[in-house]
């Protein structure tokens, strides 16, 4: 069942088109930077971008930081919102359930497929970023500079980059959980994806509002950028671990809700 869902998702041209579009923004940014040599000043623009002109090895991180606020969540929301509602809209859901695929199994398989997509998308952005960084900028494979100004060895840098990829993936799982949950509520994949995006836009907006500060620690987007902390020296784990815990709670609660909804739902699509 999981294999079937993975084959469906990755056998679909749309999935790869989404990943391609996702990478177009970092590519454009890299091209512009390489052509103009005008990097944002430190502390301005997306994290890491100010440093890439001097060290291309940081571009995978800059690429993640570029797509993190909008492009990546949109892609994840679209794919996760499509998971169940897309099958319902196409009419294939009733055949899957009459096959019988088993509702819990189907939901788990959809979840795994969406998680695989998140991982592939994040890794693809990092990989394309790495390629761009080493092609267009002066890469310094022997180590780099941490955000705090100390020097990182090449091993430290690549290790921390992997950690950052993992952290961004977990952050996106929260988005995926919203998308999957909404996907079990409606037969319209568009509505499910927009629902997930509405949550994220709302969360980002509340985060900037002082009046919302009591609930700020619980907003799903609160700790998204904490992956930057992984490149400080020493690493301040507080925000990173809180971010992981928060996403864990969101994923757990939303998946339980999705399961409760889907396992008892009348399938009339």
């Amino acid at each position: 069942m999981i294999g079937v869902e993975l084959r469906k998702l990755f056998g679909r041209p749309r999935t790869w088109a989404t990943i391609a579009v996702l990478n177009s923004l970092p590519v454009l940014v890299a091209a512009l930077l390489a052509l103009t040599d005008l990097a944002p000043r430190p502390g301005e623009g997306p994290p890491f971008l100010s440093a890439v002109l001097t060290n291309g090895a940081l571009f995978p991180l800059a690429a993640l930081a570029i797509v993190l606020p909008l492009f990546l969540p949109i892609a994840v929301a679209v794919v996760s919102g499509d998971a169940v509602a897309g099958e319902a809209q196409a009419g294939t859901l009733r055949y899957l359930l009459a096959r019988p695929a088993g509702r819990t199994r189907l939901l788990v398989a959809k979840l795994v497929a969406v998680m695989a997509f998140v991982l592939v998308a994040v890794v693809a952005v990092a990989a394309v970023g790495h390629l761009l960084g080493s092609l267009l900028f002066e890469a310094q494979p022997v180590g780099g500079t941490s955000v705090s100004g100390t020097t990182l060895t090449a091993e430290q840098l690549s290790g921390r980059t992997l950690l950052a990829i993992g952290y961004v993936t977990v952050s996106m799982l929260g988005v995926a959980a919203f998308g999957l949950f909404f996907s079990t509520l409606t037969d319209s994949p568009l509505a499910a994806a927009l629902g997930a995006l509405a949550v994220l836009v709302g969360s980002s907006l509340l985060f900037t509002l002082d009046a919302a500060s009591p609930i700020a620690p619980y907003l799903p987007t609160r700790y998204w950028l904490a992956f930057v902390d992984l490149f400080r020296d020493p690493i301040p784990w507080r925000d990173v671990s809180r971010g992981l815990a928060l996403q864990g709670v969101y994923v757990g609660v939303l998946l339980a809700a999705a399961w409760a909804r889907f396992s008892t739902k009348d399938v009339t699509s």
Partner: protein, 309 residues
């Protein structure tokens, strides 16, 4: 004979709307059961409850002797279904769609999958369809592929909702032949349809659904049994009345209904008296007449309150 499909008091309510109102179905092994009803009479909701897609408000469903939906995982692999038209992933080919669907549940071993897919495609007349994406299929081809998907695991029971939808007359005849062949080799068929002619030509037993209630269930042969009268087609109805005095039940233009179940006897009397006869037939009600008598107005007709005819 054992019940292959059995429901008791099956009902479904959506808010204030009662879609299905306590129906008792009993389909036995070897039947071709016609489940008739107008659009909106609750056929599809019933089919969905049979297959565990919709939870009944009350009542029970048994498929192949086991309670649904509890035994879905054991029972449904032995049931083939076509529910409200076929549905496939448009960007994939027909065989790829069947392969994914087969792999999505129990009871279809991978080893025989390729073979079984080729077999059912031949069976439904799509053997030469190759790698074309389903998006490019005609409505009839999709219907055939849907039927192929239902046949993939040689099911003991076929639950088919409007299986000839979108097929041309040749296709309908072909599919009818296929279903009768399958039935001869032991497949029980539950056919839900609003096409009376289709049911009349295929089914051995029928149930008629009207606004969620089963208003009729019987052997088809019993419903359309001869009425004991003979229909005489003649240009001279008045002379028939003169010859067979007292036996004429009704006259409608050149169509005279005469009491007496033996057309030969009626014919002999008329010919002996020199009455011209164009045609003779045993009078039997059509399924259409039976259904119209049992069911009320079409369910998709919505009259204002108090003004219903």
């Amino acid at each position: 004979m054992s019940a292959v499909l059995h429901t008791s008091g099956l009902a479904k309510r959506y808010g204030r709307v009662v879609a299905v109102d306590g129906i008792d179905l009993d389909v036995r092994a070897g039947d071709v059961y016609g489940f008739l009803g107008a659009n909106g009479s609750g056929k599809t909701t019933t089919v969905r409850m049979l297959l565990g897609l919709v939870t009944p408000t009350r009542g029970e469903v048994e498929l192949l002797g086991e309670r649904m939906p509890r035994a879905a995982r054991r029972v449904l692999p032995r049931v083939g279904a076509l529910i409200e038209g076929p549905a496939f992933h448009g960007h994939l080919s027909g065989p790829a769609n069947l392969s994914l669907l087969d792999a999505a549940g129990p009871g279809g071993t991978r080893r025989t999958r390729r073979r079984r897919i080729a077999d059912v495609l031949d069976q439904v007349g799509l053997g030469g369809v190759a790698r074309r994406p389903v998006r490019a299929y005609s409505l009839g081809m999709r219907q055939r592929l849907g039927l192929g998907a239902a046949l993939l695991r040689r099911p003991e029971l076929l639950v088919l909702d409007e299986p000839t939808n979108g097929l041309d007359p040749q296709g309908i005849t072909e599919i009818r032949g296929l279903l009768l062949d399958l039935n001869r080799t032991g497949t029980t068929v539950f056919l839900s349809s609003h096409l009376l002619a289709e049911v009349e030509q295929l089914c051995t037993r029928v149930g008629v659904l009207d606004r969620g209630r089963l208003v009729l269930r019987d052997e088809l042969a019993g419903l359309t049994a001869p009425t004991g009268a003979t229909v005489v087609d003649t240009p001279a109805p008045e002379r028939v009345r003169a010859v067979l005095d007292g036996r004429v039940l009704s006259v409608d233009g050149g169509r005279v209904l005469v009491r007496g179940e033996d057309p030969a006897e009626v014919n002999a009397r008329l010919v002996a008296a020199g009455v011209p006869v164009f045609g003779l037939a045993v009078d039997r009600p059509s399924l259409e007449q039976v259904v119209l008598a049992a069911a009320r107005t079409s369910a998709d007709r919505v009259d204002a309150p108090g003004r219903r005819r």
